[in-house]
Each structure stands twice: as C-alpha cells, then as structure tokens.
C-alpha cells in the first residue's frame, strides 16, 4: 500500500506530513506501507492508494481519489487518528 502527502509546492508541508506519517507507522509497527510526498500539479490518481492533504488545498486535490483532509497539519493526534483509520479500512492493522 502507498500513501502520498500533497501540498502546493511539494517541498515543506507535504514533506513534514510524510515524516510524521512515517513516525506514526513506526509507532504502530507497520512496515509494508510506502509514504512519499509531492506537489499538487504532479500528483495523479494512480500515484498512491490514499492521499493526505491539508484543508486549504482540499478543493484542488478532490479529483485524486481516496483523499484524507487534515484540519491542522501540525496536529499529531489528528494525523494519528486518521492514519489508523485508513490502515484499519485497508486491513493493514
């Protein structure tokens, strides 16, 4: 399974979200999920199974397929809840 974190320029924010998702996967002991980051222009629906993006670009990323919107990109608890939820749905944990 693959998760893609997306933001406007694909440099700072999405990268931070990627690192945080990786940290959460570590905590959960999940090893076979790939996480990467990208900018909004390059991201296409085939790039990943699930896309994580912040509220402010929710509109632009709506066409990507399975999208998870983050209310706050610095809130680790929110991210943890949402990552766990996705993993449960996909039967990874």
């Amino acid at each position: 399974m693959k998760i893609l974190a997306v933001c406007g320029s694909g440099l700072g924010t999405s990268f931070m979200v990627e690192m945080n998702i990786k940290q959460i996967l570590d905590e959960l002991g999940v090893t076979d999920v790939e996480v990467e980051h990208s900018d909004l222009s390059s991201a296409t629906p085939g790039d990943a199974d699930v896309f994580f993006l912040a509220k402010d670009i929710a509109e632009g990323g709506a066409g990507l397929g399975e999208v998870v919107i983050l209310e706050s990109i610095i809130d680790m608890d929110e991210l943890r809840t949402k990552v766990t939820e996705v993993l449960r749905q996909k039967n990874v944990i």
Binding site: G8, G12, M16, D39, L40, D56, I73, I74
Partner: protein, 456 residues
C-alpha cells in the same frame, strides 16, 4: 599518492557526489538497511543533476525576457524567484553550497543545544537556498576553501536560529501555544506585518475570519499553474511593448512574437517544475536525518516549519494577504519606473507564500486592518530588498532573476555591506559579534532564571 589525492579532490569538488555523500552519512546515522541506503544515496545524486538540467531550461527561457524588457523600457527588469536564481547559482557554487548547508545544519543544532535559541530549522529547501546565497556572497567577498565553509556555515546556523526566534512571539499569539515555530525565510516581512498589526489594530480588532470571502482562488496554490499564468501575462505585456519587429528579428527567429512569448513563459514554469523535483530528491534523505539527529541531541527544541502551517489558522487572511502583498509589489514597481534603475516585477510565487503568511500574522495582531496593511508592507519590502541585494551578488546580480523572500534580502545586504566596508575581516567580526550577542543573551537569561528560582 598524488594521483589518489587528485581523484579524491575531483570527487569532492563535484556537488552532486557531495550531497549524495551527505545523504549517505544521514542514512547510516539513522541505521537504515542496505536497499534504503542505496536508493536514498542514488536519488540524491540524480536529484542534484536534475536541478542543473532545470537551470539550463530556465536560463534559456529567461534570457529573451531580459532582452525584450531592456529593448522596450531601456531598464533592466528582474523577476525574483528563489528556484530560478538558486538553480543558476548552483552550477557554479554547488560544492560550496553543499558544504555550507551540511555544516550550517550542524551549527543550527549546536546553537539550539547551547543557547536559548532552541529552534531547529526544518524547511530544507530554504536552508539550501540560503546556503547558496551565502556561498555566493562570501565568494564575492574573497573567501575561499575552509574559511568560506566555516564562516558561511556559522552565518547559516545563526540565520536558521534567529529567523524563527524573531517570529515566535507572533506564533505564540497565533497558535496559542509554544510548541511550533515558523521556519521560512520571509521572516522579516512577517515580523514587520505583526508589528504593523499591533500598531494599528486597536483594542478589539475585527478578525479576517469574521467576514465572508469568496473562495475559489485555491488553484493559485498550485505553483505550476500560478507561475505559468503570471509569467505568460508579464511576458506578453513586455512583448507588446518590445514590438513584433524586434522580437521576430532578434529573438524568435521569425516565430510570431505572442506565440514565442507564451512558449517562453511555459518553458520557465517547466524549468521551475524540474528544479522542484530535483530539490525534492535532494532533500528527501537529508531532512529526515537532520530531524532525527537534532531530536536526539536537543530533545526540547522547537521545530521551525514551512509557512503553510499558519494558513489553516486564518484562510481568509491567506487570500487578503496575497492580494495586498501583490498590490504592494505593483505599487513598488510603479515607483521604480519613476525613479529609474532596476525594476523588480512582482512574482506571484513569493507574493503568494510570503504575502499570505504576513496576512495571517498581521491578522493575529491587528485583525483585518493588520492583515491588509501588514502584508502590503511585506509586498513593498520584498520588492525593494532585491534592488539592494543584487549588487552584492557579483556576476549573479546580472541574472534576470534574484532571491525573493525578505530574509534573503536582509541577510544578504548585511553580509554584503560588511564586505564592501571592511572586506573579509568585517564579515568575520560581524558574524562573531552576532553569535556573541546570542550567547550573552542566553547566559544573562539563564542567570536571571536561576536568581528567580532561588528567590522562589
């Protein structure tokens, strides 16, 4: 023996290999497994070469623009864009940039460990860009080899610590806690916006979030779209002024001048797109390693993060800030056309990202009025700083692009004017004085804390 040495020097002189080595060290320090190490090191190596390839495309797309502008208005027009100028500079200053970046990150960790400036600057692309600008200015000032790297790295470490520290009072006010810092080199503009907001906001300022505001400009956050659109508009306007005969004869080889301009604008966006992919590849392994090492060495440090972290706090202020800053850029451009000299054209990317951030910070201290006026001031600031920055960049000052965000201007002008007035010695003294002040400030605070602890 000499042969071995010269091969070694050849290897280390090649920036792509150097950053790959940095990634390798980072991956080893994180104790990754072999496939990950090979993958990460190779990607970083290729990433650097991707940046160089993008630089070529970008330069070819910008050169005709410079010619057209000069022909039409008889002055030089410059579009500030970090990616453009860094990619061009890296072809010549790549090795020094890589080394200053590497040791600058170490300096940042050491400052966080031993002073009260506990900020770890995690916005990797800005670290890279700042390292690049420092490499250029220090080289122009006459530094070479080890002193260039050491002094440059200390300067970078200081800027990485000071910029977030200066913004922390506003971040506390905005986020309501003290856990996260803002790590983005538009810092001086944001602080100014915060102060403007404070000065004019009054007692109970009305927040931008209390007004209904049409949304739907979200597509501008897609940097490829916004760069291509604005460059197309600017390019076509300049082409109209330059006239078809000049362009057909000298630049486009007979191709219709409007079509030619649109293609060049698109090519510029394509160049930035390629450069961004390269930057992403280069940073992918280095930043996590930096984060991992710093959390081990300085456990209570605050991460300083990229500017979009503040956007969700005030989405209306994001749009207001962008527009207001852009208007500031246009007003500045008009002033410059009246005064003569270089003309800085408002670039949408810097005005969007820094204007929006200034808008959010201005709103936090001074509501709607703070947001509008704060980001307007930011727009003027990032238009005029490049005018004074370009002369200290040596040959690079003659490129048709330059560094865009406020801290690049302030730090660059600071270092550059030290060099102009006292050469290398002045730069060394200047940097050490700043560092000494930071250390003294930490010691005094610590002594004060201890006294108050005893008192309690």
């Amino acid at each position: 023996m000499n042969k071995v040495l010269s091969v070694l020097v050849d290897i280390l002189r090649e920036p792509s290999i150097l950053v790959a080595l940095m990634a390798l060290i980072g991956l080893l320090a994180q104790k990754k497994n072999l496939p990950d190490i090979i993958k990460g090191t190779t990607k970083t190596f290729v990433g650097f070469l991707v940046i160089a390839a993008g630089a070529g495309i970008l330069q070819n797309a910008l050169a005709p623009f410079g010619d057209m502008f000069q022909h039409a208005f008889h002055v030089k027009g410059v579009v500030p864009n970090n990616e453009a100028i860094v990619a061009i500079a890296l072809t010549k200053y790549g090795t020094n940039t890589a080394l200053i970046m590497f040791f600058g990150m170490i300096a940042n960790i050491l400052i966080a460990r031993f002073t009260r400036f506990k900020y770890i600057f995690l916005t990797g692309h800005h670290t890279l860009y700042m390292a690049c600008m420092i490499a250029v200015i220090m080289t122009v000032a006459g530094f070479t080899s080890a002193p260039l790297i050491i002094i440059g790295a200390i300067a970078l470490g200081i800027i990485m610590s000071l910029s977030p520290a200066m913004l922390q009072p506003f971040m506390r006010k905005l986020t309501g806690n003290d856990n996260v810092a803002l790590g983005h080199f538009g810092g001086v503009g944001y602080a100014l916006s915060g102060l403007v907001g404070k000065a004019i906001g009054g007692k109970n300022p009305k927040s931008t979030e209390d007004i209904n505001f049409p949304k739907g400009l979200g597509f501008l956050r897609d940097s490829t779209v916004s760069i291509a659109l604005t460059m197309a508009v600017i390019y076509v306007i300049v082409a109209l002024f330059a006239g078809p005969s000049y362009i057909h004869q000298h630049l486009s080889n007979g191709q219709n001048y409007i079509v030619f301009s649109l293609i060049q604008a698109g090519t510029f966006a394509a160049g930035v797109f390629i450069i961004l992919s390269g930057v992403r590849l280069v940073l992918a392994e280095i930043v996590p390693a930096f984060k991992g090492i710093s959390t081990k060495i300085v456990p209570n440090a605050k991460p300083a993060l990229d500017c979009p972290i503040v956007y969700p706090f005030a989405p209306n202020a994001v749009l207001i800030g962008f527009f207001s800053s852009f208007v500031g850029g246009i007003v500045s451009m008009l002033i410059m056309t009246l005064t003569g000299g270089v003309i800085i054209l408002p670039g949408v990317v810097p005005h969007f990202f820094t204007g929006a951030t200034a808008g959010v910070i201005g709103n936090a201290t001074g509501g709607v009025r703070g947001s509008v006026l704060g980001s307007f001031v930011n727009g003027i600031l990032i238009s005029f700083l490049p005018v004074f920055l370009m002369p200290v960049l040596g040959d690079l000052g003659f490129a048709n692009s330059t560094f865009s965000d406020a801290d690049f201007g302030v730090a660059g002008i600071f270092l550059g004017s030290l060099a102009n007035h006292g050469g290398k010695g002045a730069i060394i003294v200047g940097i050490l004085v700043v560092l000494a002040i930071m250390v003294l400030f930490s010691i005094r605070k610590r002594a004060k804390d201890m006294n108050s602890n005893i008192g309690a």
